[in-house]
């Protein structure tokens, strides 16, 4: 059993025998790792560092009907083990995206998840229609949770009814897999998860950023251009894991887990909590090849632990 040839065979069998592919509410992914919206641009930005073909999916920057300028600077601040951002959904608008950015992504054998946001239900509906008609869009991730934009008093992500309404409108306008991205800034993530599930979501993405802020004690003013920002990175991981754990047990939808995933261990923690797939955000800034390292690391963990199908790990901490 310990002869070198056997070992070799073992190792090869391992690397081939391990199934990493998952199905996220109708979106087939060759492995469970995607990028977190807003941290990976539209793909080409990281192409020098990442083999885009190896990603389970590429999730692009939040897209809106009209172009958005975004917020004043500073737009980013460091906090202990985290960052605050207030980008404010700067993006060139959905038509520009379809015309200029999507064609590039079609060169890759990797599904594209388009993250969408809007100010009104009509916005969501229209963005959905335009993207559903575009070639190369594999799924929609509906951002009902961005803390960085003022929406005339309507806080979609934190109001259950409103969140469900957004999902219903998107659902009516697309047959693409529909991932509802939830805000963690809520009292009861399970309630809101349940509502968006009823409203027709195929999967849940959690979590978006926690609303936070930083004050510069020298100027005695808020540090960020937009005063408040969204907290991401390792600091928020315990909150994210908890929400995935709660939602996965309460709602029968696959979950795209995210929030502070820096390495394979962190990714596995989310999978054990109940995430079918994971998204890597802030980590890209620290290590541009983070997604690649995470895919390799998950594979290694499975081999080390004799797990042949990643799906067996999903929710294994409570199943």
């Amino acid at each position: 059993m310990t002869n070198p040839a056997d070992n070799l065979t073992d190792r090869q069998a391992g690397s081939q025998g391990v199934n990493l592919s998952v199905n996220l509410g109708g979106l087939q992914m060759k492995n469970p790792v995607t990028t977190a919206s807003g941290t990976f641009g539209f793909g080409p930005e990281y192409a020098p560092y990442v083999d885009l073909n190896r990603l389970g999916a590429i999730t692009v920057k939040g897209t809106t009907l009209e172009p958005r300028k975004g917020n004043p600077t500073p737009r980013i601040a460091e906090t202990p083990a985290g960052i605050l951002n207030c980008i404010g959904l700067q993006n060139p608008g959905v038509d520009h995206f379809i015309r200029e950015d999507l064609p590039y992504l079609r060169n890759y054998d990797t599904p594209v998840i388009v993250n969408i946001a809007g100010n009104s239900l009509d916005d969501y509906a229209e963005v959905t229609r335009r993207l559903s008609g575009a070639q190369g869009v594999s799924a929609l991730e509906v951002n009902i949770s961005c803390p960085n934009v003022k929406q005339g008093g309507m806080v979609f992500g934190t109001d259950c009814m409103m969140a469900a309404e957004v999902i219903r409108v998107v659902r009516e306008n697309t047959t693409l897999p529909l991932i509802a991205k939830l805000s963690p800034n809520v009292t009861d993530i399970v309630e809101i998860a349940g509502r968006v599930a009823e409203a027709g979501a195929d999967a849940l993405a959690l979590i978006n950023t926690l609303l936070g802020m930083k004050i510069d004690i020298r100027s005695r003013k808020p540090f960020l251009g937009n005063i408040m920002g969204g907290l991401s990175g390792p600091a928020i991981r315990p909150v994210a894991v908890r929400m995935v754990w709660q939602a996965a047990q309460a709602v029968r939808l696959p979950i795209l887990g995210m929030g502070g995933i820096m390495n394979a261990e962190d990714a596995i923690e989310f999978i054990l909590a109940g995430a079918t797939a994971v998204a890597v955000g802030t980590a890209n800034f620290v290590n541009p090849a983070a997604t690649m390292d995470i895919i390799t690391g998950i594979q290694q963990y499975m081999r080390d632990n004799g797990i042949t199908d990643i799906n067996d790990l999903v929710g294994a901490a409570w199943k």
């Binding site: 807003g38 941290t39 990976f40 641009g41 539209f42 930005e45 990281y46 020098p48 560092y49 920057k61 172009p67 300028k69 975004g70 004043p72 600077t73 500073p74 737009r75 980013i76 601040a77 460091e78 202990p80 083990a81 985290g82 960052i83 951002n85 980008i87 700067q90 060139p92 608008g93 520009h96 200029e100 950015d101 990175g233 390792p234 802030t282 890209n284 800034f285 620290v286 290590n287 541009p288 090849a289």
Partner: protein, 272 residues
């Protein structure tokens, strides 16, 4: 193209009150280097600081495969850099951004550096010299001790004038004041500048008065360094950015990391 990985620190010396000069052997990156571009450095292997730190290319030795970095210790990240020793591995991405471009037909350049803004100007000065362009270099600093690199620049045979806030060396006052004195006599036909925003602001309005165009290198807090996160934007007058349509309010946000850090002076809008 861009490199990401480990270089090897070959030198790291104190060269000023808070300033260090680091040389890094990293041939794959060096071969892509260009004045005005920068590297994005992971200062800690842990989480403090979490983000990388952008540092300009200060020297490029294509032959030896090394780049050098001139940096000022201002916080946690740069302090960690200062603690590195020859032989240590250093995690860097780059070169990133668009550097200076030397326009055709210029003959006399004014090069202005404020504080640590002098760092990226060295390879530029060398390029200008290489192209046989006459140049006057103005350096602004807090005080005499904070004037970095005068001798090295002079040894390249370029004219260097100094302004210090406290008058402890050269012209007393801001480097923009010195520029105002120098321009009429030196009659430059183009300028390049890097330094704090108030200096750049002053310089842009001054040069505009003289009908002088030029390029400025900007700084902003960065996340990714590769144009993906949209953290590092600055206001820009043009509407012709590659990814962004012309926008209404008189400006659009451009990315310092990939659209810059060097911009046409006439394009940038610097708020207070």
């Amino acid at each position: 193209m861009s490199f990401s990985g480990l270089g090897e620190v070959v030198m790291n010396t104190k060269v000023g009150p808070e300033h260090f000069l680091m040389r890094v052997y990293v041939p794959q990156l060096t071969k892509l280097a260009k004045p005005g571009r920068f590297v994005h450095i992971r200062c800690s292997s842990g989480m403090d600081p979490l983000l990388r730190r952008p540092i300009s290319l200060h020297g490029i030795d294509y032959g030896k495969g090394t780049i050098s970095l001139l940096y000022q210790v201002v916080g946690t990240g740069t302090r960690m850099l200062a603690e590195m020793s020859p032989g240590d591995g250093i995690d860097l991405m780059g070169p990133l951004g668009n550097g200076f471009t030397i326009p055709d037909g210029i003959n006399k350049a004014l090069v202005v550096g404020g504080g640590i803004g002098v760092a990226p100007l060295f390879p530029l000065v060398q390029s200008l010299k290489h192209y046989g362009i006459e140049q006057t270099v103005l350096l602004g600093a807090r005080s005499a001790a904070f004037v970095i690199g005068r001798e090295q620049l002079e040894s390249l045979g370029v004219k260097v004038k100094i302004a210090t806030d406290d008058g402890s060396f050269g012209y007393q006052g801001f480097v923009t004041g010195l520029a105002e004195d120098v321009i009429p006599a030196a009659k430059p036909d183009y300028f390049f500048a890097c330094g704090p925003y108030p200096m750049l602001k002053g310089l842009i309005s001054l040069t505009k008065g003289f009908g002088l165009s030029g390029q400025v290198s900007l700084e902003e807090y960065m996340g990714c360094g590769v144009g993906a996160c949209l953290a590092c934007v600055c206001k820009n007058r043009t509407g012709g950015g590659t990814e962004q349509p012309a926008s209404a309010g008189g400006f659009e946000y451009k990315k310092v990391c990939t659209d810059g850090p060097v911009f046409e002076a006439s394009e940038v809008i610097l708020d207070d």
